[in-house]
């Protein structure tokens, strides 16, 4: 693995290897001494062109637990906002002595561009690019699902995929990098996916995706699913006429208390995931977010483990 740009690039074997290493990494997180010496002397740069404290600190914690040095570079208020190009910024980081770049960028494809050009020649981790992909989020979601189901069955999660699971991804699919990365990875791991959204928030062309598409969250809940992934919906989308107003959105596509009860009534032990930050009362009710089925905090914990595994595989490299 040279870069981590898209979950579509991962084979089943590679994806499972990352998840398995993440299991080991997660174990170390429960110890008194959480640090591993694996990346001592290496420098990881978090290059963030978009504000995302959650993702940045998750990557920062991951790198530090592997004993790497971390440089956080936020583009806000820096030379970048004064018009410096991605190329110049990246080359500056190379000159500083970076060994890997974790990049969050508002443009779809910016990490892939950084990886494809001769600008720096370092391993690149896509920490979310525009409305394209967010592969470590998908890996941590898959990790969370796999781990929970293994716990439930009392078996080891190691070496397993997500075969036969039914997953609903609900919300603003059109603008969601999380939805895209999850779609490819869940398919690779053997799960079947249903995208649920108002038609305005599904991309034209999604009919070619390897998933089912539904406009009715109620019908999907009724059909029985192993997990629902609720996506963040920005209330501002109503200004571009994607839906009439947040209230109506919530009424049809939100995981509200009524739908939470319907989920529980199915007796399917459906897990509830959300990549955060949540808009409580819009796409998810507080009761759903705080219910025993909610994996929201578990996802955050697992995010560090998955990012440790990703950095480890990119920088020590000899595993795959």
């Amino acid at each position: 693995m040279k870069h981590l740009l898209s979950t579509a690039d991962l084979s089943r074997e590679e994806a499972i290897a990352i998840l398995d290493i993440a299991e080991e990494m997660r174990e170390t997180g429960t110890r008194q001494v959480k640090k591993l010496p694996a990346l001592r002397g290496r420098t990881v740069v978090n290059l963030f062109f978009e504000d995302s404290t959650r993702t940045r600190i998750s990557f920062e914690a991951a790198a530090k637990r592997l004993s790497a040095d971390v440089i956080n570079f936020s583009a806000k208020g820096s030379s970048v906002s004064k018009g410096e190009s991605l190329k110049d910024t990246a080359q500056t980081l190379l000159a500083i002595g970076a060994d890997a770049v974790v990049i969050r960028h508002p443009d779809s494809g910016a990490p892939a561009r950084l990886a494809a050009t001769d600008w720096i020649g370092l391993p690149i981790v896509n920490a979310g690019d525009g409305t394209h992909e967010h592969p470590t989020q998908a890996l941590l979601d898959a990790f969370t699902l796999r781990r929970q189901l293994a716990l439930r069955e009392g078996v080891s999660p190691l070496g397993r995929g997500l075969d036969g699971l039914k997953i609903a991804i609900v919300g603003d699919i059109l603008h969601s990098r999380v939805a895209r990365s999850n779609l490819w990875l869940l398919n690779t791991l053997g799960a079947s996916v249903t995208m649920v959204a108002p038609p305005t928030l599904l991309p034209v062309g999604a009919s070619a995706w390897p998933c089912k598409i539904s406009y009715s969250l109620d019908a999907v809940i009724e059909s029985g699913v192993d997990a629902v992934m609720m996506l963040r919906v920005q209330g501002e989308r109503m200004r571009a006429a994607f839906f009439p107003n947040p209230r109506e959105y919530s009424r049809y596509w939100g995981l509200d208390d009524t739908r939470l009860k319907a989920l529980e009534a199915k007796g399917h032990d459906t897990l509830i995931l959300h990549p955060g930050p949540m808009n409580r009362g819009l796409e998810i009710s507080s009761a759903a977010a705080d219910s025993p089925a909610s994996m929201v905090l578990e996802q955050v914990t697992n995010g560090v483990a998955v990012r440790m595994a990703s950095l480890y595989m990119l920088l020590s490299g000899d595993l795959i």
Partner: protein, 433 residues
């Protein structure tokens, strides 16, 4: 000066000798002339000099990207003897002063006829008609008007523009792009944009404007030219309009005849262009549209950019591709070698018809005695690998870089003067007025 072209296949047909004297075709047949410079052309195809209805020469204002000099050198190398220069310069070519400046720069450069296109609206602002009459009456004799790069989206303003240019036998060349439907658009909207998470540029944004404009042209009895048609639906609408007798002509770029939105998966901004690269179905429909005459002409939409405008991430990259030095090869590759067009058809879509649309008297003329010697010699058997760094244009943004293409321009005669010989730039023509 006298030149004797020996054994050239005129429009791909009979091999003939062509004697050029003082800028004109003096004789055709089995010829000999001891004083003439002889150009051996056995195996080469002789075409009328190419006429491009659509280039961006960037001068005045962006001389770092291209100048009239370098752009017209690129044109000559591509086999062109005339190009239209779009109005989106800085300042905008929306008055007689700027169009005369561009015209003069072209005349002094001496590589091709440079015909400025006048802006439809002041500053391309889409609010107020520019001084169309003054531009038509200027030394540049502007006949084509366009806000290219920006659509004249206001239906009333478009109607007025179409009507107004009738007084000067002008034509409005529309960049068909409904602005609200393409806010923030990065690429064709479809299966590829869905995967890449890029804001889509839907086909309907082009087709709805073309549908509106052909109806407006019919209503006011005016001439409409549609720039860079890119979708299958647009071809159908134009086919319908022509069947109805509407005075519409349409243009397609070489890149839309070959490349698809699959290229965007590389995220390399060399493929970023407006209108965007479309689907395979669209490419095939465009070729069929050229073959059946629905699409009249090839326009390169040559759009050079400095390297920093493309050596960056997709979202901030400039839109546009160079095209003058590859156009004929792409036409041969996509239309001749596929059996869709003969070389006589190529002459029609690259020279005869574009000259008529732009009302260029000395261009796009038959290869006949007494006609101006604007001629291009092509070696259809040649093959070459596209290297943007050996081109005459300042732009290095060729989407065909690294591709092997058929057909090479061996010589270009501009009013009887060889601007290209042996496939390389020769000398400019010194205007004697």
């Amino acid at each position: 000066m006298k030149y004797l072209i020996r054994q050239a296949a005129v429009l791909g047909g009979q091999a003939t000798d062509v004697l050029i004297i003082d800028g004109k075709i003096a004789q055709l047949g089995e010829l000999s002339d001891a004083e003439a410079t002889v150009i051996e052309a056995a195996g080469l195809v002789l075409l009328p000099g190419l006429v491009d209805p659509h280039t961006h020469l960037r001068e005045p204002g962006r001389e770092d990207a291209e100048t009239v000099e370098t752009g017209s050198q690129a044109a000559a190398r591509g086999g062109y003897t005339a190009v239209h220069a779009m109005a989106n310069s800085t300042p905008v070519a929306d008055n007689a002063g700027v169009v005369e400046q561009v015209y003069e720069l072209g005349r002094k450069a001496g590589w091709v006829d440079v015909r400025p296109v006048g802006a439809v609206t002041v500053g391309l602002g889409g609010q107020q008609l520019s001084e169309i009459g003054a531009m038509a009456d200027s030394r540049a004799k502007v006949r084509m008007f366009s806000d290219d790069g920006i659509c004249v989206s206001d239906p009333l303003l478009m109607r007025r523009a179409l009507e107004y240019v009738k007084a000067f036998d002008g034509v409005i060349a529309q960049h068909a792009q409904e602005p609200r439907l393409t806010e923030g658009a990065q690429m064709n909207e479809g299966e590829v944009s869905a995967v890449l998470g890029m804001t889509g540029w839907p086909a309907v944004a082009e087709e709805s404007i073309i549908a509106r404009d052909v109806l407006l042209a019919e209503h006011v009895g005016a001439r409409l030219h549609v720039c860079h048609v890119s979708t299958a639906g647009s071809v159908e609408i134009i086919r319908w309009a022509k069947a109805r007798g509407i005075a519409v002509t349409a243009e397609v770029t070489p890149h839309h005849l070959l490349l698809t939105d699959e290229k965007v998966k590389t995220f390399d901004p060399v493929y970023k262009v407006n209108p965007p690269l479309r689907r395979e179905e669209d490419v095939l429909a465009l070729r069929a549209g050229v073959a059946d005459g629905t699409i009249d002409v090839i326009g390169t939409d040559h759009a050079p950019h400095p390297s920093e405008a493309k050596d960056c991430e997709w979202g901030v990259a400039a839109m546009g591709m160079t095209g003058l030095e590859t156009a004929l090869s792409i036409v041969q590759h996509t239309l001749v070698q596929t059996g869709l067009l003969s070389w006589a058809d190529v002459a029609r879509i690259t020279s005869f018809t574009p000259a008529k649309i732009g009302s260029l008297a000395d261009q796009g003329r038959p290869i006949a005695v007494g006609e101006p010697a604007n001629l291009t010699l092509v070696d259809p058997a040649a093959r070459w690998i596209v290297d943007p760094f050996t081109m005459a244009t300042k732009g290095r943004n060729s989407p065909f870089a690294g591709m092997e293409l058929p057909g090479a321009v061996r010589a270009t005669f501009f009013h009887g003067h060889p601007t290209v010989l042996d496939g390389a730039l020769a000398t400019p023509r010194v205007a004697n007025d």
